[in-house]
């Protein structure tokens, strides 16, 4: 099982993702340079967090046209798993791998804090190690994380179980104070209609070790491992 982590100019969570995959999960990981056209035979592609191309124009708008993204989109179209974390989620939306867009946080502030997520759908290749309703702790660190889509798209996401995670409070309720960016329906993570692309604003790769406050994010990597090995 081999993970490929794309490094764009301005990516800054690629090393965290590498640490999560190799040290916490115990799988193989390679860095994929944005100018490369070779996915090097990886099973899973991770689009990591950061500020690719300085967030110029819109977060993710330029990264989407990197040479490697042509291969990433082809991999996704073949059904290959892709996980976009934070800036990676923004890139996946810009590239059309996921519907909707991530806009400026409703509170205008950059938010960097631990949040709670509720597992909405445990029947995906990214969440099969969790149970529905599990509450996870992970950090968020973003200025543009407000998930937005038209009403029809939101209805489709909700109706087809494509909402993977929602922001909740300690009691597991979706209340405005637990929603760090004003995302519609408190959406923190979604999967594509085909089920092989996950976009998530919080950082599971920074929550893989109890020493750093939480290991709740490891389940996402374990889920992918279980899926690809099956």
């Amino acid at each position: 099982m081999k993970f490929g982590i794309v490094t764009f100019p301005g990516s800054n969570c690629d090393y965290d993702a590498h640490h999560a995959v190799t040290d916490a999960l115990g799988a193989e990981a390679v860095y994929l340079w944005h100018k490369s056209h070779d996915l090097e035979g990886v099973d899973v592609v991770i689009l990591p967090g950061g500020f690719s191309y300085g967030d110029y124009l819109r977060a993710g708008a330029i990264a989407r046209f990197s040479p490697i993204m042509r291969e990433v989109v082809a991999h996704a179209q073949r059904g290959g798993p892709v996980i976009g974390i934070c800036n990676g989620f923004q890139i996946a939306c810009e590239a059309g791998l996921l519907p909707g867009a991530l806009m400026r946080n409703a509170g205008l502030q950059f938010v960097s804090e631990p949040v709670r997520l509720r597992v909405e759908n445990p029947d995906t290749m990214f969440t099969n190690r969790y149970a529905a309703g599990d509450i996870l702790r992970m950090p968020v660190a973003h200025g543009e994380g407000r998930y937005t889509a038209d009403a029809e798209t939101v209805a489709q996401l909700e109706g087809e179980g494509l909402v993977a995670f929602r922001y909740v409070n300690a009691a597991g309720e979706t209340v405005p104070s637990a929603n760090p960016n004003g995302s519609v329906n408190a959406i923190a993570g979604i999967v594509s209609a085909e089920g092989n692309v996950l976009g998530i604003m919080p950082h599971p790769e920074r929550a893989v070790d109890p020493l750093l406050g939480s290991a709740d994010g490891l389940g996402i990597f374990q889920s992918m491992m279980a899926h690809v090995s099956a």
């Binding site: 819109r58 400026r104 409703a106 509170g107 889509a149």
Partner: protein, 85 residues
């Protein structure tokens, strides 16, 4: 082939929350510009484009907006000005 100066206004689509615009409106209210009803904050781009005529330049910039400059999911754009430079 002539060179055209094309400007593009990109703004958050109506109905989509624009927190920047809201913050600017509140700041204007606190400066006693009470008449301000709404503010939308967007981006303004000026492009120099070589094209056969103004219509062709504007059509090319429209394509650029659809593909890169605007995000049609959440933004509207207006090609505001085309002039030979």
């Amino acid at each position: 082939m002539s060179r055209f100066r094309v400007s593009v206004n990109i703004s958050p689509r109506q109905g989509i929350l624009d927190p920047q615009g809201k913050a600017v409106a509140e700041a204007l209210h606190s400066l006693e510009f009470a008449e301000v009803r709404d503010v939308r904050v967007g981006r303004f781009l000026v492009l120099q484009v070589d094209a056969a005529d103004g219509a062709a330049a504007s059509q090319r910039v429209r394509d650029m907006c659809e593909k890169l400059l605007a995000n049609p999911v959440v933004e509207d754009y207006q090609i505001a000005l085309v002039e030979e430079s």
